[in-house]
Subunit: 519 residues, 2 copies
Amino acid sequence: MINAVGRDIPEEIIKATGMQPFKGSFARNGEEYKKAAPTVRPRIDPTESKLVDSIADVLKKCGIRDGMTLSFHHHFRNGDKVVNMVMEEVHKMGIKDITICASSLGSAHAPLVPMMEDGTITNIQSSGVRGAIGEAISNGKLKGLAIMRSHGGRVRAIESGDVHIDIAFIGAPTCDEYGNMRANGGKSDCGVLSYAYVDAQYADKVVAVTDTLVPFPNLPASISQVNVDYVVEVDEIGDPAKIATGAAKPTTDVRKLMMAKYTTDVVVNTPWFKNGFVYQTGVGGASIASTKYLGEIMRERGIKMGLGLGGIAGPMCNLLEEGLIEKLVDTQDFDLTAIHSVATNPNHFEITGSEYANPMNKGAYVNRLDYVILASLEVDVNFNCNVVVGSDGVISGAQGGHPDTAAGAKCTIVITPLLQGRIPAICDECTAITTPGETVDIVVTDYGIAINPRRQDLIDCLKKTKLPIYKIEELRDMAYAITGKPEKVQFGDRVVGVIESRDGTIMDVVRQIKPYEWD
Amino acid sequence: MINAVGRDIPEEIIKATGMQPFKGSFARNGEEYKKAAPTVRPRIDPTESKLVDSIADVLKKCGIRDGMTLSFHHHFRNGDKVVNMVMEEVHKMGIKDITICASSLGSAHAPLVPMMEDGTITNIQSSGVRGAIGEAISNGKLKGLAIMRSHGGRVRAIESGDVHIDIAFIGAPTCDEYGNMRANGGKSDCGVLSYAYVDAQYADKVVAVTDTLVPFPNLPASISQVNVDYVVEVDEIGDPAKIATGAAKPTTDVRKLMMAKYTTDVVVNTPWFKNGFVYQTGVGGASIASTKYLGEIMRERGIKMGLGLGGIAGPMCNLLEEGLIEKLVDTQDFDLTAIHSVATNPNHFEITGSEYANPMNKGAYVNRLDYVILASLEVDVNFNCNVVVGSDGVISGAQGGHPDTAAGAKCTIVITPLLQGRIPAICDECTAITTPGETVDIVVTDYGIAINPRRQDLIDCLKKTKLPIYKIEELRDMAYAITGKPEKVQFGDRVVGVIESRDGTIMDVVRQIKPYEWD
């Protein structure tokens, strides 16, 4: 069945998953549904302790068995030790057929690959699967399906009951003996625990895993004791050097600086750039450079950002400190500056993943965005974006908040160099679609920008500027003129992954790769 | 059927309500259950506004109809204007058979009485019903049943689905247009919105009612936008003069000062009085005086309270400011000092009603109490307490956190003068039971104290002190010697109210009063 972004979704996948093909970004607006709920064990007896000696013991107490769904968060990023620590014990116990439901997985989790091969792990649900796990999935090593969800889409899936978490393992930089968790004050600070909040609310069993047990009560708690069954103290939940980076060096790449300049020119020449505007940006070189340019213009014109949101890095915190941003709401910290800021600046707030981006709650922060600055691996001539599947066909990225913020923002700007290496980033058809073009307004490349023809208002604003504006087909032609029209990636038949739309429908499927064959 | 506190629960009430008789304070510990969940309408479309012009309009948008359950919080106490404002519109529309599910109701809500009489309101669920509503219920004016719940019990009832809220109306001192509510910064500050949190999570429709609309985002929000459907701005949500009192004058009543002294002597002579102890107290004259005495001894001995919790009044905030208390967690503010403190002192935290006292979550703050100091209208010789029904048989009090904290604390101290006016407070049998004696450890009267024989550890500690320790039967005898043995209140047959145990079972029933008849 052809969905609303023109992708052919195989009937057998629709049947196997019970999911509908994507019908449009706002098709489910107002569609009432009953939320899911966990089965919980109350603790009325005040003398009961939550402390458990080891991961193995807590798995037994939680009744670990074949076929369960275990969840994890990714706030420790590439420094995470919790996923592997838990899964090693599960593996040792000989448990099979586990579904991993993680907010994201990365290169730290390569040790899961052998567990995929031996049937310990048979399904993976994640924002993305970078590194060895992505390769393994694309090579057909997972018995079941990988479901790739946006950050908002994951909350929706859990809150709606599309996925039910049996046991949530929440790595906590600090935790007290009654389960109050914070992301600050320990050996492996990660700033916020935003993405784990929904796990704590909806999992039947919730386990806090910490390497820094602190006195009760650990306040203000990101995750509250009332949702926590057990607390396990371990040696190390993370590798601080890999959780957060230091300050990013400003880029000197001329192409990136040019894209940053174009991006800022778009922002400052559109009507939402005024006192109190709401803004989100990423952590790529061009995004960070554009934040710097934007700050300069804000200073010049005396314009303040009312709110910055999403994953946060140092440059936004610096503008907050300077008073050019009034408030930040934060779901993920990319560097030490951000981790420090959220712990100390009273105008820098942690929010939950649902508050950030869940499309099926009563109104998420992304709905309030004036601007979002995103990156993309590929953008097709219908402005559809791909941030999950490499142009070689291998799963290597993550949806993150990409489709969430694109749908919410009044002006969605996607930055991509015209060529990613020797591959055209502007193309006839993306290798896969993660973000529908109807929610993408402007594409910024190093060769010029293209405005979605659906947005005549933006065309009218920007045609008065000196920005090099092209039709997106013209940008594609420029790219193809340099590299030639790229050959399509050749996939096998088996579907190994589903790219889920934030509303729970199927945006696209990902098939097993096969070695390139000459015609 | 006779329940675990010896009360005869009529079969027809067990049948009509589907509730079980009380089986003991910890009988349901570990009894797994599936939580309830609301049916929600998602707001994916970022252009939708939540602002609605009037209470009447929002009732229509929420689909108000006969038989619905509407919920309210009581943080505005006797200054509340929200309940009456909403119910007047409901009444005008001719809607019938409404269940009011409030965290509490008080004298401000006398205008509901005619609505009980004409069938607009047929059921009331509340912590308590002081004033005219209590009298009306006791006089049989409510067609259905009044269910009186503790603060923790109300959260449990909502979370377990025993009551399903169709529309929650949440009065918010400040709110932004997207529904982020705070209890500070407006015309009718109430400090915290703790008891309304569960309403926002579990009601199908959630309406913010505010008189102070502030710029988005109103942070840190007590109630988040993600759970709010509509925002209505009205002239006045409360009468500030009646929401909070000024500083309470220290009592000069010699009996109260004596009870305060006994209470403090109990605390400081028991083993939990050491650095880091966890404590809750009330706002009666004796409680406040005992906080003052306790502070003096803490200063002398260099002992700090780790945590104070519950409803908070000025004296506890003063100890926090002084550094004698490390942290306060707060569910209700009784005076202006407390409202100011929670807004400004970084060690004074708002917690939810569930965090405070819900017996059926994974561990509430009450479970961590070392001491709780409570008051009671009556205490029987089995240490059972009554805080809801006056000795004249009329519903005139509220459970509040009484049974919750009693069950959680290591040492539960109940203060009551031996005689309440001319009525013995220590008696053979309470007019009604709200708090089971198995959770009450020490009764402090102006004539001496009694220790529950279940607590040999406390008897051993305190017999070494100069405290005037009696058997509770001796205290009863002293009371009866002064007033004579009181006549039992004469009730009619009809059950008008259920005193629900915090775990959802029936602690007691309340019958319609009838005019006194001479034998």
